[in-house]
């Protein structure tokens, strides 16, 4: 089926501000290689999880798709519903903003404390001039609130964000995304700041919206088990590069890439295993300014060979559409 969203060779490189002195001595412009050469497709109603640690560029990718970075920093082609999101002059097509919306990580910060809930949800309607008449707008808002599980919607209209719990606030954010009935929602760590007990409510709401409204999601998270629980496909990112991509069950049960294997191996499991020897990667994700040569994971990879140091691997796709960005392809012994 025709992909809803298609990303081809997306690159995001932030220039580091050079001081006057450096400009005069024209020292080379240093770049932060946040995202390098990512190509993805998201079908209608599909949930694609992007998994990675902090510094992997997953949020930058999400924002790039949402056109939140200024265009001279983002390279590569983004096509939505078959056509590019920028018109010939490079300006963003206005209705793209209606078809796509974003849920942010921190429910305490993503709502303006000075606005009532009604004003927050009315904002997208106002910006896109969906309707002039007050009553119709209010009904749309109440409907969105009910849809997001905040029923009865009327009772939330003139309350302020600080009167709501984390979970309720995240529902308001979802309601304000729903009101423009988007086709794609980019959810950047939507539940990581919520108490565990409230988490699955929000996830179940997202799944329900997928069934009812055929909304597809770009679900960005650092928690690979959460990604497995809710998404159809998983893409694992490290230092701006896509290390592995495939169906959720396949990537979890038969991880091919050493980085994914390490991530799954280190995931806390609900049983005592203190004495087992676990494969722990040494060090932390380096800063993406001076990128390691060859495969960017080679300094920390337990299976690194000399080839990894100087040759960039080619993404290798198997017949089930399971991609592994690595020179070696044997499955890990999986307990």
């Amino acid at each position: 089926m025709k992909p809803l969203l298609k990303l081809e060779h997306i690159e995001v490189k932030f220039p580091i501000k050079r001081s006057l002195l450096e400009v005069i001595r024209n020292t080379p412009q240093k770049l932060v290689h946040a995202v390098n050469n990512i190509s993805l497709e998201v079908a209608e109603g599909e949930i694609l999880a992007i998994v990675g640690e902090s510094g992997s560029g997953k949020t930058t990718l999400g924002k790039a798709v949402n056109a939140l970075h200024d265009s001279d920093v983002v390279k590569g082609q983004i096509t939505f519903n078959g056509q590019s999101i920028f018109d010939s002059k490079g300006k963003l097509l206005p209705e793209y903003r209606k078809d796509i919306s974003m849920i942010f990580q921190d429910p305490y910060q993503s709502l303006n404390p000075k606005h009532t809930i009604e004003k927050i949800i009315a904002e997208p309607l106002m910006i896109h001039k969906v309707t002039k008449d007050k009553v119709e707008m209010r009904n749309l808002i109440i409907e969105a609130l009910n849809h997001a599980g905040l029923s009865p919607g009327e009772s939330f209209l003139n309350r302020y964000p600080h009167e709501l719990s984390g979970g309720q606030r995240q529902r308001v954010v979802i309601a304000s995304a729903l009101v423009l009935n988007p086709k794609l929602i980019i959810a950047d760590e939507p539940v990581s700041m919520l108490d565990v007990s409230v988490r699955s409510d929000i996830l179940r709401l997202m799944m329900k919206l997928r069934e009812e409204k055929k909304i597809s999601y770009l679900f960005i998270t650092h928690d690979i088990s959460l990604a497995w629980a809710i998404s159809d496909h998983i893409a694992v990112m490290y230092l701006g590069t896509m290390m592995e991509y495939g169906k959720a069950d396949e990537v979890i049960e038969k991880p091919l890439n050493p980085y994914t294997q390490a991530l799954i191996n280190v995931m806390p499991k609900m049983h005592v295993r203190r004495n087992e020897k676990r494969v722990l990667l040494k060090g932390e994700t380096p800063n993406p300014i001076d990128m390691p040569s060859g495969c960017s994971f080679h300094p920390r990879c337990p299976k690194a060979q000399s080839i990894c140091k100087n040759v960039k691997p080619m993404p290798d796709w198997d017949k089930h559409g399971h991609m592994n960005y690595c020179h070696f392809n044997e499955e890990a012994s999986h307990e």
Binding site: S101, M102, F104, Q109
Partner: protein
């Protein structure tokens, strides 16, 4: 936080309450006073009326030209208040708009505006005012303009700092992702969140403006046709009220300035404690 809880917190704050009461008294005096008490700086009293101590006819005695000091103070209150508030409005408008623009847009505009603010912060403000007042002539509107134009730098710097923090908040990014324009973001998101700080700062800047007006008038730059407390103090000092111990002539006007400015500082600090969560009592 909602409006009425804001006011409730303000009333509950002891400093805020005292400040508000003093301020209200002066506003009453300024509004009602000149209607009841006609004070004409030109009609000088008779010779024997000069420098009389406080008495029933003249509650606060008379000045070196036989004029009633109490009437002068009542008339002066209106001038001091008006000049203080008007000058502050000018400073706030310039300071806020520059602060928000340079904070929100950043880049070259920010650098240029910040250098401009630095220059105004560095210029010695009183001599600058004196020179401007001297060059423009000592009418009350020039005084207001002069104080206003030289007083905006501090506000600009504070507002810019607050805008920088607001700009990084996630609800700004959310507004951008919905497609909100810069103007919409500033109007609906940045300004409402920076306003409490602007309001608290306005109160403190008014205190400084009143002090500036008094000092300018004391140094002889005031508008003689509309005497303020500073002008009264100027004539008191020039006429040597000090040496012949006419304390009723030079103490009350100064005291009024002190109380009015104190009322603004008290309110300003009370607001600051409410706005700044770190200072708030737990």
């Amino acid at each position: 936080m909602k409006k009425n809880s804001f006011i409730k917190l303000f009333i509950k704050n002891k400093m805020g309450r005292i400040g508000m009461i003093i301020f209200m008294i002066f506003v009453m005096v300024a509004l009602v006073g000149p209607v009841i008490v006609q004070y004409d700086p030109q009609d000088f009293g008779e010779k024997e009326d000069v420098l009389q101590p406080p008495s029933l006819t003249h509650f606060l005695g008379t000045d070196d030209l036989g004029r009633d000091v109490f009437k002068a103070i009542v008339a002066g209150s209106r001038v001091s208040l008006i000049v203080g508030i008007m000058a502050t409005l000018i400073s706030m408008v310039i300071g806020t708009s520059l602060g928000i623009t340079s904070g929100y847009f950043g880049g070259r505009i920010d650098d240029f505006l910040m250098r401009l603010t630095d220059i105004f912060l560095v210029l010695p403000w009183l001599p600058l005012m004196l020179v401007l007042a001297a060059l423009l002539g000592a009418s009350i509107w020039n005084i207001i303009l002069v104080i206003g134009v030289t007083g905006w730098a501090g506000t600009a710097r504070i507002v810019r700092a607050q805008t920088l923090t607001e700009k990084e908040r996630q609800y700004i990014e959310r507004a951008k992702s919905i497609g909100a324009s810069h103007f919409h973001i500033i109007k609906h998101h940045i300004f409402p969140n920076v306003f409490p700080l602007i309001f608290a700062n306005t109160i403190l800047v008014t205190a400084v403006s009143i002090l500036s007006e008094t000092t300018l008038s004391f140094l002889g730059m005031g508008d003689v046709s509309k005497p303020s407390w500073g002008t009264t103090l100027h004539f008191a000092f020039e006429s040597g009220a000090l040496s012949n111990k006419a304390y009723w002539y030079f103490v009350p006007p100064g005291l009024c300035v002190l109380l009015l400015v104190l009322s603004f500082t008290l309110m300003g600090f009370a607001l600051d404690e409410i706005v700044n969560p770190k200072l708030r009592e737990r």
